[in-house]
């Protein structure tokens, strides 16, 4: 069937600059660039271009310019170009349209409607270059109080404490499994997390054995609906165990790693035969209710001698606050909430773009509900899905998060350009692919340094913002909505966020 689709990108090659070195041809996994030896000319097959910009970045003479294709249908606010292209795609294939990365639709981004406070006159701002500024964060359940016994000068703690994990900055790497991303990308996240003193998340693809000893202490290991890679050593080597119920990009939807991506090492890690599809069911089939969740939480705690906090990750959905409350009562030590704009390696586009609620509103509602029920300290909250910069982190913490997960931001730091073609397995940047020719492009030494720099840069910026507010420890910002004001928000939105409007 002849395709009626218009190309998405226009590839312009400036003849006066091109030296026909064929770098672009080698870099493009989609076969956009082709050199014709007989004609000694470069040709472009731009229908195949995904706009990842790999060729433009690597072109030594800057001869390439890749931009959204200007050719379009008659402008129509209702029938947009994207809607029409999707229709044609489906007419040609009869399939469910897949996509990668996070929701790109213009839902309101609340971070951009919240502004931060700073000290003037009545209390001093603090200069983080001259004074200590502390970002250290504990994740896990806290007791109602601490009982101590005082013998002379000695103070002994007599309360029994729940396991907590310490991170040096409230920024964690989100769940991205080995299989969804390349070994190199996975390793880079682990290396950066270890170096900075924070956590990475294995996703549901297991943790390769050779990484456990070195990186286990910085790993959040997931136990998801497919139970891939879960064994006692996997659970016990980790810092945190996370039960994955849902994902912001595809609430209510499972996962599917196609067999062609299941290489020998991935098969070994996931504990499935090589070349078979790895199917994660939509629900966990032993969790059909909150009491079932409780049983799995305690099964995992039993398996790890009650030494690890257990996290439960859910997608932000309509009644997220009530669900979160149930999770805490079921025994979750950490609850991770993934919002509407959370990323994915592959999801049906219709789900990604239409299901779930924004993380800002979900987070504010959950934090408030847990406080009303007097159980906020019994868990830590990790907010995820659409955290793009350090200000988003600060705003999330002020709304009530203990820490945030970053996925897309970390990938972008490694080279990702959010071309949304993760599901094709042809990532030109070597991140979201199992093709050794492509994944070799990502050098873990360099990629982990880029990630480390990201953590460092953001942490420094967070310190600046904290200092400005006259706060020198991140815990004094947590849930401190006095330091937020809304701009351009409706009454109901301010109410849900629990934030005054600017000037109020």
């Amino acid at each position: 069937m002849y395709s009626y689709l218009l190309p998405e990108f226009l590839v312009e090659r400036r003849g006066d600059r091109c030296i026909k070195c064929r770098v672009c041809e080698r870099q493009c996994p989609n076969g956009v660039h082709r050199y014709d030896v007989e004609l000694d000319m470069m040709f472009s097959q731009e229908r195949e271009c995904v706009g990842c910009q790999r060729c433009a970045v690597f072109c030594p003479t800057g001869a390439l310019c890749v931009q959204p294709h200007p050719a379009s249908y008659r402008p129509n606010a209702s029938w947009t170009r994207e809607k029409m292209q999707d229709l044609k795609k489906q007419a040609e294939t009869g399939g469910v349209i897949l996509t990668g990365s996070g929701n790109d639709k213009p839902y309101r981004i609340y971070w951009d409607h919240l502004v931060l406070n700073a000290s003037q006159v009545t209390n001093p701002s603090i200069d983080p270059l001259r004074e200590p500024m502390e970002l250290r964060t504990f994740l896990g359940r806290k007791p109602d109080n601490l009982q101590v016994e005082i013998k002379g000068d000695r103070v002994d703690i007599t309360s029994e404490l729940h396991p907590n994990v310490l991170v040096e900055t409230p920024i964690l790497f989100s769940a991205m499994s080995y299989g969804a991303i390349s070994y190199q990308a996975f390793l880079s996240l682990a290396m950066a997390a270890k170096k900075y003193g924070t956590l990475f998340n294995t996703g549901e693809g297991g943790l390769p054995r050779e990484m456990r000893k070195e990186f286990g202490a910085n790993a959040v290991v997931q136990c998801a609906s497919g139970r891939f890679g879960v064994d006692p050593e996997y659970l016990n080597c980790a810092a945190v165990i996370e039960i994955k119920i849902g994902q912001g990009a595809k609430p209510g939807i499972g996962g599917h790693l196609p067999g062609e991506k299941v290489s020998a090492n991935i098969a070994l890690t996931r504990m499935i035969p090589e070349g078979t599809d790895a199917l994660s069911p939509a629900p966990q089939h032993d969790i059909y209710s909150i009491e079932d969740l409780s049983m799995l939480i305690y099964a995992l705690k039993e398996a790890t001698n009650y030494e690890k906090p257990v996290s439960v990750k859910i997608a932000a959905v309509h009644n997220v606050a009530a669900i979160a409350s149930g999770m805490v009562r079921a025994g979750a030590d950490i609850i991770a909430i993934d919002g509407l704009r959370g990323g994915t390696g592959a999801a049906p586009k219709i789900i990604r773009d239409n299901v779930g609620i924004p993380i800002e509103l979900a987070l504010a509602a959950v934090d408030q509900r847990l406080r009303e029920e007097g159980i906020r300290h019994k868990c830590s909250i990790i907010a995820a899905g659409g955290i793009r910069c350090s200000a988003d982190v600060v705003k999330a913490i002020a709304l009530g998060a203990d820490a945030v997960y970053i996925g897309s931001a970390a990938l972008v730091a490694m080279g990702c350009t959010l071309c949304q073609k993760c599901y094709t397995g042809k990532c030109a940047w070597g991140i979201c692919t199992q093709d050794p020719y492509l994944s070799r492009r990502l050098n873990p030494e360099i990629a982990s340094e880029r990630l480390y720099n990201l953590l460092k840069g953001w942490s420094n910026e967070i310190k600046e913002m904290l200092g400005g507010m006259g706060i020198n420890a991140i815990e004094s910002l947590r849930g401190n909505r006095d330091h937020l004001r809304g701009v351009g928000l409706e009454e109901w939105e301010l109410n849900v966020l629990g934030v005054k409007g600017a000037g109020e």
Binding site: N123, N164, H377, I471, N480, R481
Partner: protein
């Protein structure tokens, strides 16, 4: 126990703006328990006049009513605009307490104060307390909170035994003159407060000291962690009604010291914990203790500038924030221990001093009856 009938809000957003202020503080205690008059505290506040702006002053006195020391002494103000308030309170008190004696607190109407309310004192013992299954203290707290939130025009200044709070709108010395503190009363602890609010509520109940039972707090500072602290305290049933930092401080002291029984030496490390860099260099036991305190009580770290003087029976202590953004000076002369925002105020009123020192941030100065505990902070002085 819920301190307040929680008025559940539809959103955090509707909370009133926090009250911002700077202040002058003074505290003096005779650790031998000898009672003395208010002259030192009053003159010290005069000496620090520039730290207030006449929009609030107050005093807390301990050892005030030895003849009624077994009864809760309630100081209650009634706004003149609500003539029915006193009747309601009288009825409420009679229903829940044995009122052994009550009278109007004598005042000197010639004092230069604005819009003074009627202030009355009651000496009471709980009635039917067992039926409600509450300890006496909890019973009193609950009833006080009821009056404060449910009776329009009435507000309880203080509710402890053998102590009382006198406060109002004016400079501290004017309040002292109004209540004739220098002429009528003696105590072994006097704490005093002068306000410099950035807004003008002009309500007598809003002046400090802030008090629950026999705990009083005078405070100077603007807490940048107010939202975090307030919301944590709400989970334990403390709902702020005045929206001042002092109120948060008072509730935190009540939660940690009275309800959870932690000593001030530990509580100081919760309010003003040492930096992680410092904790890293401690021996293992202390490292574990300080890390655990920071982990469990992170929401009660009081961030930003503050100095606080807290008193209850037999004890007075002062504390300043972890990076010492607000001043405090301690001094001792014989059996007297002084705490003040300014050294000059102590020198102006005290007998020749044996010791004067500046406690570092996060190091409490604790003066206890019949002990020399206050000298413990001397070793760590700046």
């Amino acid at each position: 126990m819920r301190m307040l009938v929680a008025g559940k809000r539809t959103s955090e957003r509707y909370l009133p703006e926090k009250d911002m202020q700077a202040c002058g503080l003074f505290g003096v205690m005779n650790v031998a328990g000898e009672r003395f008059g208010g002259e030192m505290a009053i003159s010290a506040m005069v000496n620090m006049k520039c730290r207030g702006n006449g929009l609030g002053g107050g005093f807390a006195v301990y050892g005030l009513y030895p003849e009624y020391k077994d009864y809760y002494a309630l100081h209650i103000m009634f706004e003149r605009s609500c003539p029915q308030a006193k009747e309601q309170v009288d009825e409420f008190l009679t229903a829940h307490f044995h009122v052994v004696y009550d009278e109007e607190i004598p005042t000197d109407m010639r004092a230069n104060v604005v819009n003074p309310p009627l202030v009355w004192r009651y000496f009471v013992a709980p009635r039917h307390q067992e039926e409600e299954g509450l300890a006496a203290d909890e019973f009193v707290v609950e009833k006080v909170m009821f009056i404060n939130t449910q009776v329009e025009g009435a507000y309880v200044f203080s509710s402890g035994k053998n102590m009382g709070v006198f406060k109002g709108v004016g400079f501290p010395e004017e309040i002292a003159e109004f209540f004739m503190l220098d002429r009528l009363y003696k105590g072994y602890i006097w704490t005093a407060h002068s306000r410099f609010p950035t807004n003008t509520p002009g309500w007598w109940g809003g002046a400090h000291p802030f008090s629950i039972l026999d705990w009083t707090v005078v405070h100077n500072g603007e807490i940048s962690s107010y939202g975090t602290n307030r919301r944590y305290l709400e989970m334990f049933g403390y709902y702020c009604t005045l929206y001042t930092d002092t109120e948060v401080m008072a509730y935190a002291v009540d939660l940690l010291m009275r309800r959870q029984g932690l000593p001030i030496e530990v509580v100081a490390k919760i309010f003003a914990p040492p930096m992680w860099d410092l904790i890293a260099h401690m021996d293992e036991d202390r490292r574990r203790l300080y890390s655990t305190l920071r982990m469990v009580y992170a929401p009660l770290l009081i961030n930003g500038p503050f100095t606080v003087i807290v008193a209850h029976h037999n004890e007075m202590f002062g504390l300043t924030d972890r990076i010492r953004l607000r001043p405090i000076t301690a001094a001792a002369a014989g059996d007297y221990v002084f705490l003040s925002s300014e050294e000059g105020a102590i020198r102006a009123v005290a007998p020749p001093l044996d010791l004067v020192w500046t406690p570092p941030g996060g190091e409490p100065v604790v003066a206890r009856l019949h002990s020399r505990d206050h000298l413990a902070s001397l070793a760590r002085a700046v």
